[in-house]
């Protein structure tokens, strides 16, 4: 039995392909049923998010598993097999395990440290569990992966500080205002960046928007989007005292907001703070505004600096996370190999004894009745002695390998060399699944 994963993600496949290969609940079900019908595959967990589609399997022969999953995936999502093969990656054994752990720890994500992936893995696993397409191996693997993801999040600060300019802006605003809910934001200029930041504000609960732009029609357009109201650019200063957060992104070549106006606005607000975000280049807001009592000004450089510092921090945390993951992969491999060694040794002994008994029977039959009991005992002792001596060192080696990293390779080789059919149990389980 081999753990393996086949998939595509944002690093290997363009968005057009990812869109097509993405799996919803129905498709996951179809895919699982399809794969489990195949004799070589005993467990399946499909994982599909907007940045990745991956299928985790347990297969008796990894090459067959790869082929099967590839063609099934191409068939279900109706893409050319060749296109898929070009972008897909395939990992087996240790690398497959470490891949899942890295995904769970969000190290493989587009934005390292993002939090969503954990719940996505959880959902994918629970759905597969409900479908009864999982068994001992993948159950253990996915539960372990969720623990690993949790460990990465709690033991490192990988998800702590935002790394995009607009989320940094919102994060900074949250250091001034405890809650953004119910606050008023004033958008000066109707640029793309301003809009993006405003969207972030909406997701943090800001509901009241005022939009001011040199061309009023554009302001109205934007105001409609955010359910706010548009005001003429000339009256900007009259609306300034109402704003808790000001986002400026005009294309004006000179300052749109000056120190004196801001001072007046804050006074009219009875010193309640205003948070200014200036994402325009050249700048819209006089840098002197930051010196105004209870005014806080961040321009694009400030925000970039913070975002950069945060990203560097995440990189550092990611390295810590890699150590955790390596540790956990080792743990899982240990479990995996210990799982295998004992039945393998038993199977090996059973096989040897069967051969020995068969050969003894054949040989003894040839001697008619001219052997005394004593002679028979001697011959049997000889046969047993040979078998035991032969098996002694492989048995010892296997047991030792059980506690070593990569020990499952010994077990695998042993099973292949002696054709120990240890997959019967799995196949039986699988046929029970397909009956349900």
């Amino acid at each position: 039995m081999h753990l393996a994963v086949l998939g595509i993600n944002h690093k290997t496949a363009p968005v057009e392909l990812r869109e097509k290969v993405s799996l919803d609940e129905d498709r996951c079900g179809t895919l699982s049923r399809h794969l489990l019908d195949d004799a070589g595959i005993s467990e399946v967990v499909p994982l599909s998010t907007c940045n990745r589609t991956e299928v985790y399997i347990v297969a008796s022969r990894p090459e067959v598993g790869r082929r099967e999953v590839m063609s099934a995936l191409a068939e279900i999502s109706q893409v050319e097999l060749r296109d898929l093969e070009e972008c897909a990656y395939y990992h087996e054994g240790e690398t497959a395990i470490s891949h899942l752990y890295r995904v769970a720890g969000s190290l493989d994500s587009l934005v390292v440290g993002e939090a969503q992936i954990m719940s996505q893995i959880k959902e994918a696993y629970h759905a597969a569990h409900k479908r009864e397409s999982t068994s001992v191996l993948l159950n253990r693997l996915f539960r372990h992966a969720l623990e690993v993801g949790k460990r990465v999040r709690t033991e490192t600060r990988i998800g702590e500080n935002p790394v995009s300019v607009s989320s940094v802006a919102v994060d900074m605003a949250c250091k001034v205002f405890e809650e953004l809910e119910g606050r008023t934001a004033l958008l000066v200029g109707a640029g793309k960046m301003g809009e993006l930041t405003a969207t972030h504000l909406v997701s943090h609960g800001v509901t009241s928007f005022i939009v001011s732009n040199r061309t009023l029609s554009r302001a109205e357009e934007m105001a409609e989007k955010f359910n706010g109201r548009a005001v003429p650019f000339e009256e900007l200063n009259d609306y300034l005292p109402m704003a808790d957060i000001v986002i400026s992104s005009t294309g004006a070549p000179h300052y749109v907001l000056r120190k004196g106006e801001v001072e007046r606005a804050i006074r009219r607000r009875h010193n309640r703070p205003i948070f200014f975000i200036d994402i325009a280049v050249p700048r819209d807001i006089d840098p002197g505004v930051n010196d105004v009592y209870n005014a806080f000004l961040y321009d694009i450089d400030d925000l970039n600096e913070v975002a950069g510092a945060n990203a560097a921090q995440r990189e550092k945390e990611a390295r810590k996370a890699e150590v955790i993951i390596a540790e956990e992969v080792n743990d899982f491999l240990l479990w995996l190999s210990s799982l295998d060694v004992v039945p393998t040794i038993t199977a090996l002994r059973e096989m040897a004894d069967k051969i020995k008994d068969g050969e003894l029977e054949k040989t003894l039959a040839k001697f008619d009745a001219d052997l005394t009991d004593k002679d028979i005992n001697r011959i049997e002792a000889l046969a047993s002695g040979i078998v035991n001596k032969m098996l002694h060192s492989p048995t010892v080696e296997l047991k030792r390998a059980a506690n070593e990293r990569g020990g499952y390779l010994y077990v695998e080789s042993m099973r292949r060399l002696f054709k120990l059919n240890g997959n019967k149990r799995k196949e039986r389980q699988k046929s029970e699944h397909s009956k349900d």
Binding site: R157, E160, N161, K175, F177, E178, A309
Partner: protein, 355 residues
């Protein structure tokens, strides 16, 4: 009687130790933001508070009067009030990080109480009045609230500074300020080392050759050690604070301003009542309402100070840094009113000076 005193002592020390450990935990929280760990700290703080409550109760029982007659008792009550109000504030506002200053302050005040520990004694005649516990309890509770305001105000100033500077060049500020603080505390600790009984003596006595030469060396040594430790901590704190991630561990300006204001908004009426009850008591005991005794004068100054805070805030719309600065200086005035007057100035309230 004796065994009760023993239990009281043990409980007081237990509370003191828990405050010390919690100081460490809350400071560590500021550095690591480890929520699990600080939850243990909060539990420990509750337990410490409980132990101190029982200790104060036992003291009340064994001495036969409310535990507010000497410096040990009232300081212990002061520390108790700080922890109580901090736990209440922490329950209602996300201000755990402020514990990094408030809890150590409470520990410091409670440990000073320990320095002045005395067994239970019957009241001196001048204090034998039910006004004692009304007057002192109310005053101490208001002090506890002011300490909370101080902690929140202090972190307001730090957080605002970091936000205004966008974390640039903040290392030197931390380095210089903490070095100075370390130096001052080092001198203080050194003078303790030299002559524990004179720790609370005025500066004039140190200058006027009251100490032996070796004692001066000890004081100097304390100062040097304090300076080095302060430098080191300043460097670490400054390094940490230059990372934008740091101030996400501090509460938002909004919450800090609110908590600082609330502390004073509740503390000021209590202080007012404390002064009025004091005046009534003074009228009964000494036959006059007000006599410009140093304690009376200084509590009036404290009252005016916090009155100014509320006045500027409510009628002039002050908030933010200016208010926070008043809240921070306010506690220094409170401490002087409370300790300074008793220890350095002579007057009718000086009964509390250790014999």
């Amino acid at each position: 009687m004796d065994s009760i005193t023993k239990i009281e002592e043990v409980l007081f020390i237990a509370a003191l130790i828990s405050y010390l450990v919690c100081s460490g935990i809350y400071i560590w929280y500021l550095i690591s933001r480890n929520e699990k760990f600080v939850r243990v700290g909060t539990m420990l703080l509750y337990m410490g508070l409980l132990a101190q409550t029982v200790a104060l109760g036992l003291r009340w029982y064994s001495s036969g009067h409310a535990p507010m007659s000497d410096l040990y008792e009232s300081l212990s009550l002061f520390g108790w009030g700080i922890i109580l109000f901090f736990l209440i504030a922490q329950h209602f506002y996300p201000v755990k990080a402020a514990g990094a200053l408030v809890v150590p302050t409470a520990f410091l005040i409670t440990s000073i109480a320990g320095v002045f520990y005395k067994g239970p004694e019957p009241l001196v005649p001048a204090l034998q009045s039910y006004w004692l516990w009304i007057h002192v309890t109310i005053a101490m509770l208001s002090y506890g609230l002011f300490t909370l305001s101080f902690g929140a105000g202090f972190f307001y100033i730090v957080q605002e500074y970091l936000l205004k500077k966008n974390y640039r060049n903040v290392l030197y500020t931390f380095l210089i300020l903490l070095s100075i603080l370390g130096l001052a505390l080092g001198f203080w600790a050194g003078s303790w080392w030299a002559e524990p009984a004179k720790v609370m003596d005025s500066v004039t006595q140190i200058v006027s050759n009251d100490y032996a030469t070796s004692d001066y060396l000890k004081i100097l040594g304390g100062g040097v050690i304090g300076l080095v430790v302060g430098c080191l901590l300043g460097f670490l704190a400054g390094k940490g604070a230059s990372k934008p991630g740091f101030s996400s561990r501090l509460p938002s300006l909004d919450v800090l301003d609110e908590v600082s204001y609330r502390g004073i908004a509740f503390g000021f009426p209590l202080l007012t009542i404390g002064i009025i009850t004091g005046a009534i008591w003074a009228d009964q005991a000494w036959g006059r309402w007000w006599g410009w005794d140093p304690k009376e004068t200084w509590s009036l100054i404290t009252w005016l100070f916090y009155g100014a805070y509320l006045h500027t805030r409510l009628t002039m719309g002050w908030r933010g840094r200016h208010s926070a600065i008043i809240a921070v200086i306010g506690l220094i005035v409170v401490l002087f009113t409370y300790l300074g007057v008793n220890l350095f100035l002579s007057g009718l309230h000086s009964y509390a000076v250790p014999a």
